[in-house]
Amino acid sequence: MTEKVKLTWNGKEIEAPKGSNLLKAALDNGIEVAHYCYHSGLSVAGVCRMCMVEQDGVPRPFPSCNATCGEGMVIRSDTPKIKASVEATLQFHLLNHPLDCPVCDQAGECGLQDYYMKHGQYDSQMIDKKVHKEKVQDIGKNVMLDAERCILCSRCVRFTEEITKTNEMGILNRGDHAEIQCNETLKNDYAQNLVDICPVGALTSKDFRFKQRVWFLEDVHTTCIGCETGCSVKVSENKNGAFRVKPVYDHEVNGHWMCDDGRYIYKHVSSPTRLGGAVENINGLFVPADELNVQAAVKGKKTKYILSTALTIEEYANFFNAVKGKNVEVALYTLPSDGPEFDGILRRGDKNPNLRGAKAAFELAGFDHSQAGLDNLLGSISSSDAVFVVVPEILYNEDHFNTLIKKVEKAGVRIALACGETLGTLRAFNYLLPIPAFLEKNGEILNYQGQARKLRKGMTYGEASKDVSYYGKWVNL
């Protein structure tokens, strides 16, 4: 534990580790300080000049992002001098800003709008010609760049330099002609973070582009189920569907960032082709069916379950409670790893979000979770069997899943439990039954560290009440 020091900020006593960043100390203690270029996950640039503060005994105001905490410092950010300087600096930020808020996706969560309402509210005296730069540039990886809206805080440059070390972004030219440019296209797997760290609308997401205004959205703080890292994320959604995924700061797992793959985990949840109720496969056509028909088909068959690794600990527990003491075979299907084991930042090759939770639950219930267990189950399938396969929520590797389906084909009744779209691969099944998606259930998963990560329930777009344990009760009907 580092030494803590006490300092006073606008008369409020706050505590911070000695030598830590002064601005961070204020932000951590809930003091609102205007800033653009400072980001606690990146190095200090000190160029936006918004976080100026005065200290007793120091003649000139200085930016708090480039100062460190010391014992007994008396800092003020509410003096008339500072207020005037923040207002003036904000005015400089907005001078050449195009003010195309009506067409800008950032509107509603834009630093310029927020601070104008808080610290600005002046009458603009800018009647001169603005500096124009290139708009609407697609710089790859679903990121759109608008150089004109940029306030040159250099966060994106520092991100590609320090975090991904791919150096795609740079600031060319100087003076007010300086503009952000991308060297060819973005090539890193964390490019969408640029959209998050951009305090204005210069970098926006092409995936989210013009889909919704942010004030129509509500955030659900949940966990990414894209891989075993289990990044803390928030999904923005409303009654029309889920629209985007953004990381939430979590110092134990993901810090400030998340990878690009995780950005698309919301897609199946509110997809128009999502499975809404039980369907029957009649000669390759999926036709709505009654659940009782499915039950009738299963009746008298020996039931076998192949679970996926994307279920919550609670779902596993409830499922094993439901099948406890019954003559049933259960195996675990794990997705093969995709890419290197760990890319050095966040992304892990193991795409099974709750592998550890699943294994623990299997062991507790006395089932075999190994590949051998799965092979045994697959090997013993006969036409007198009813096989329930839980389709992995994020199906990275369809080919690998197809090989599983091939082996299931011998079974008399094949039932897929799916929460996503009705994929072509699922034609091999007789029935499809809906289960809730990750955004429609509360629960926990264990990530690669063995840490419990919370899934939280947001809005419901499909059948969310019947989870795996509900179908677990259909054993040996």
């Binding site: 195309d100 009506p102 067409v103 603005k130 708009k135 013009f210």
Partner: protein
């Protein structure tokens, strides 16, 4: 609401009811006498005769167009946000013209829900939506009560289907760019 009441009360307090009575009757009598000698009717033979409302009337909406005939709306959704009846539904998309950037692919107003408050007109930053003095909005089926952007911008009654051109924003922008 409060102000005229207080005025009336003052009038009553100062002059008793007689002055109020006199003022009211004066108007009535004057109108009566005028109508005795002038032959203009208070009623119209609708629909053959139509009443012309002033431009400030809040009737059926119109989406204005630019000089090139495209919709002025940038689909910023401010009208949809502001609308107390939540009757405006916009779907936005990229525009091929980079200087426009964002344009609606669909703009619908549920006329049955609309309360004609005019907030959408007030909220619009680009003068894209206006309420006209058009008041005839009858229909037979539910479908007809959802006005899409063809209906809103290019219906027959607006310049013979050519739409209402607005240049307000262009001038402002030109001023900035110079």
């Amino acid at each position: 609401m409060g102000e005229p009441m207080i005025l009336k009360a003052d009038l009553y307090r100062e002059h008793g009811f007689l002055k109020g009575l006199y003022l009211g009757l004066k108007i009535t009598m004057m109108t009566m006498i005028r109508n005795l000698f002038k032959h203009d009717r208070m009623t119209l033979n609708y629909p053959e005769e139509k009443y012309f409302y002033s431009d400030r009337f809040r009737g059926k909406h119109v989406l204005t167009v630019k000089e090139d005939g495209t919709l002025r709306c940038t689909s910023c959704m401010l009208c949809a946000t502001y609308c107390p009846a939540q009757c405006i539904h916009i779907v936005a998309a990229d525009d091929s013209d980079k200087s426009v950037e964002k344009a609606p692919v669909s703009f619908e107003i549920e006329m049955l829900r609309c309360i004609f408050c005019g907030y959408c007109e007030e909220a619009c930053p680009v003068d894209a939506i206006r309420l006209t003095n058009e008041y005839e909005m009858s229909g037979h089926a539910e479908q007809e009560w959802v006005a899409d952007h063809y209906e809103l911008a290019f219906r027959k009654s607006l310049n013979n289907g050519k739409g209402v051109v607005s240049t307000v924003d262009d001038k402002d922008r030109m001023k900035l760019r110079l």
